[in-house]
Amino acid sequence: MSVGLVIVSHSRKIAEGVVELAAQMAPDVVLVAAGGADDGEGRSRIGTSFERVQEGIDKASGGDGVVILTDLGSAVMTAEMVLEFLEPEARDGVRLAEAALVEGAVAAAVQAQGGSSLDEVLRAAENAVVSIRPEELEPFVSHAAAAPGREEARPEGPGAAGSAAGPVATGSFVLPNQMGLHARPAATLATGLLELDAEVTVNGVDGTSVMLLMSLGLGQGRTVDVEASGPDAQAAVDFVAQAVESGFGEPS
């Protein structure tokens, strides 16, 4: 069982919406919405509820731990109170992420889907705080981008000699699908690369970070430049090649 997530928001709809969004990319992860507060008449109103968060943590437990993501101020305070009430043993398996809710939840869910540890999932959430900034969508100019198009992956690329990380492989692949590297393909790449024993960058960013992959904003016809090092370097490049060139199973 993977790490579970609890989404705490003032709004029941926001919490449920974030769960819906994250679940699309992490179907096996336990995602629990803990949004809104009771209005005393069985309905939900804006606010956060100690009981709902407590129940949420309970539901999300049972795997490798729980990461809580929150929205505005009092959601954080409510979550902190619930943590204070946990037994020390249960408390050890729960982390409260300092992260942007939507970006953090998606990144954490993908990380959890890959079977990562509690602290890795927490880190994924907290590193996802930088939202997508349009002015930064095309900043990545790498050696391969200067000559777009398919290059054969090569097990021993230039500069590989003497690398402590083991074998190096690179490759460049053009995105054939209409939607390009949007959320679902980014999740496909990140999740697949997580399972391989290799350090992988895609156009200069960490290939296992779905948020960073999405922030590249690569559309149809753009080139995906992969650089991998480590024992599974070639497998990583092959995986990206296969995924990209099949258009992620989407229309081209």
């Binding site: 507060a37 009771d38 209005d39 005393g40 109103r45 804006i46 606010g47 956060t48 509820s49 100690f50 009981e51 505005l72 101020g73 009092s74 305070m77 409510t78 902190e80 109170m81």
Partner: protein, 220 residues
């Protein structure tokens, strides 16, 4: 606001009177708190507190805790799950820390009153991470705690200590008016938050006023 004219020891019955008085004074000032919060926040403070202390009354009707601490703990748990806004965890923490400081004592003495208010104040500071001057309820709790400590050391009775705390909290709440908010939703307004009293500081003053009145203390 003739909540209770009862005098006597600060026992569990006092704590229950305090909470009934709080529910009444919050209900009476619901519109005021909503207006203050509408000016600089999200207009839910009066409604949230009224709902929370209303729920506290229902709990107290069904249950009769035997010590002041047990009453305050019941209040804390109820506020945490019914208030919803920031006041829920903040007042929840305050009453919980106050209950912890009282232990299993049956009757609270003057030093116990001062210790209880200091514990509540410290809990709010820890939870909300606000400081004096941020235009929050800390600006009422801090002078209240200091006044209670001073009164207790000067040999005041427990009701007098509560009255000193309540008066200082009122003064602290009034003094939030010109401040610019640096915490909570009001901080988004920046300089526009000046010119209104902080609703959390005002509700703090009301709660401590109810505590003093339930003990027969004279509140100015």
């Amino acid at each position: 606001m003739s909540v209770a004219d009862a005098t006597g020891p600060l026992d569990a019955a006092w704590a229950v009177r305090w909470m009934r008085g709080t529910a009444q004074v919050v209900a009476e000032n619901r519109a005021l708190l909503i207006d203050l919060d509408r000016a600089i926040g999200d207009a839910d403070h009066g409604e949230n507190l009224d709902r929370g202390f209303g729920a506290v009354l229902l709990k107290l009707d069904g249950d009769a805790p035997e010590t002041p601490a047990a009453v305050l703990k019941l209040v804390a748990m109820t506020l945490m799950s019914t208030v919803g806004g920031a006041a829920g965890p903040l007042y929840g923490t305050a009453f919980l820390r106050a209950a912890t400081s009282l232990g299993d004592t049956g009757t609270v003495d003057p030093a116990g009153v001062a210790g209880m208010i200091a514990a509540a104040r410290d809990g709010i500071v820890a939870r909300g991470k606000a400081e004096v001057g941020d235009k929050t309820m800390v600006d009422a709790w801090t002078p209240a705690s200091e006044a209670a400590e001073t009164a207790a050391q000067a040999g005041a009775t427990a009701p007098e200590v509560l009255a000193a705390a309540a008066n200082a909290a009122h003064a602290g709440a009034v003094a939030t008016e010109p401040l610019i908010a640096r915490k909570g939703r009001a901080s988004y307004l920046g300089e526009r938050s000046a010119g209104h009293q902080d609703p959390g500081a005002v509700s703090t003053a009301l709660i401590l006023q109810a505590a003093a009145e339930a003990a027969g203390g004279e509140v100015a």
